[in-house]
Amino acid sequence: MNRNYIILTLIMLILAFGTLFLKMDDELDQVDPEILLQEIIQPTRYVTTDQVAKMIIKGDPSLMLIDVRNEEDFQNYSLPRSVNIPLDSLLNPENLSYLGIKGTKVVFVSDDDIKADQMWVLTKRLGYKGTYVMKGGLNCWMQTIIEPQQPSGDASYADQETYSFRKGAQMYFTGASAESSDDAKVEVQVQRREKSSVAAGGC
């Protein structure tokens, strides 16, 4: 009787010790292809340039911008507070440590959508949550934030609003003087509803 109990005790101890060594692999849990497909089809991974600009201006601490272009391009121009992780060096453990932090939004930025999208698929495959792609990439950023186009006079109110926000953001990022300074400043300070149609008139 006692010998059986000793064996059972040992088995339980070994099983419990075993749990200590489980966690490592767990973080690189792979995604089921079906679920991955579902997520790729859905456009929810995209954030617009306006949303990114807003988060940078507000100093949102949960935002993590990752620039996936090569180092040279990154040196030439990059978004404020962004980190450079070229596509080919994603799998460095050092770089992976930026991902999968609870409560942060990782947004991938490249010239256009393609490289950022590839990066996004890779991170999903690795099982990370909370990764996004900046829609249209830096090309779109240039068109919408750095050199926003004034909408025509009969454009909708929402478009006008988007434009004035962009003018404000332009000032913030380039230091350019604004023509209608009062208006623009107010737009930056006022926190708009997140789901307003700022996406309209994007790329």
Partner: protein, 200 residues
């Protein structure tokens, strides 16, 4: 994969069928292990019968370690399981009151049901007591509503509070429980030798 019902793998209609089946298994195990006798239950506090400690802590460590493996194998999404919310003050007070209830009544709610099932009158009275107690609590609720809702920490786990991974807790509980099993084996032998009469 799991949990099956929150993930929609098993439909809501099966909920109550599964509830009864799980209940039957629960009741069966409790009764078969001897939890339908208040003397067995109270024995854990007087050192003559440690069946509560053995069953309770074996179940605890098996479930804890098992959950870690289920999580590892991807069978269980730990973010989707229900975590009991923590209310610091009320839970300590509640636990102390339940401790008194346990010593005086000799049962806890689940075990009293199995006692009723096999015809124990004290279990029946305990269950009636439960009913009266909860009724009284509800009626008097406005008196201590503030206290009832105080000390809320949300649905936190040990890991959320301490930052130590869950597996360390599983291991710690296992080691303590196993040590307790061996220790109590000797206590029980000694106490029983001194007992004149022990009627199950």
């Amino acid at each position: 994969m799991g949990p099956l019902i929150p993930n929609g793998i098993i439909g809501d209609g099966w909920d109550f069928v599964i509830a009864i089946l799980i209940g039957i298994a629960f009741g069966f195990i409790l009764e078969a292990a001897g939890f339908s006798s208040s003397r067995n239950l109270a024995g854990v506090f007087y050192g003559y019968n440690f069946v509560v400690l053995r069953v309770f802590f074996t179940a605890l460590i098996v479930a804890m370690v098992g959950i870690m493996y289920f999580d590892y194998l991807g069978w269980l999404d730990l973010s989707k399981i229900f975590i009991l919310p923590t209310y610091l003050g009320p839970m300590i007070v509640g636990g102390v009151i339940m401790g008194f209830g346990f010593i005086l009544g000799g049962y806890c709610p689940g075990t009293s049901f199995t006692g009723v099932a096999i015809g124990k009158l004290d279990a029946l009275f305990f269950t009636i007591g439960l009913y009266v107690g909860i009724f009284g609590f509800s009626l008097a609720f406005p008196l201590f509503e503030n206290f009832y809702n105080s000390g809320s920490l949300g649905n936190v786990t040990l890991t959320d509070v301490t930052g130590i991974p869950a597996s360390y807790f599983a291991l710690a509980f296992t080691v303590v429980a196993l040590a307790a099993f061996w220790g109590t084996m000797f206590i029980e032998k000694r106490v029983r030798k001194n007992m004149k009469q022990y009627k199950f």
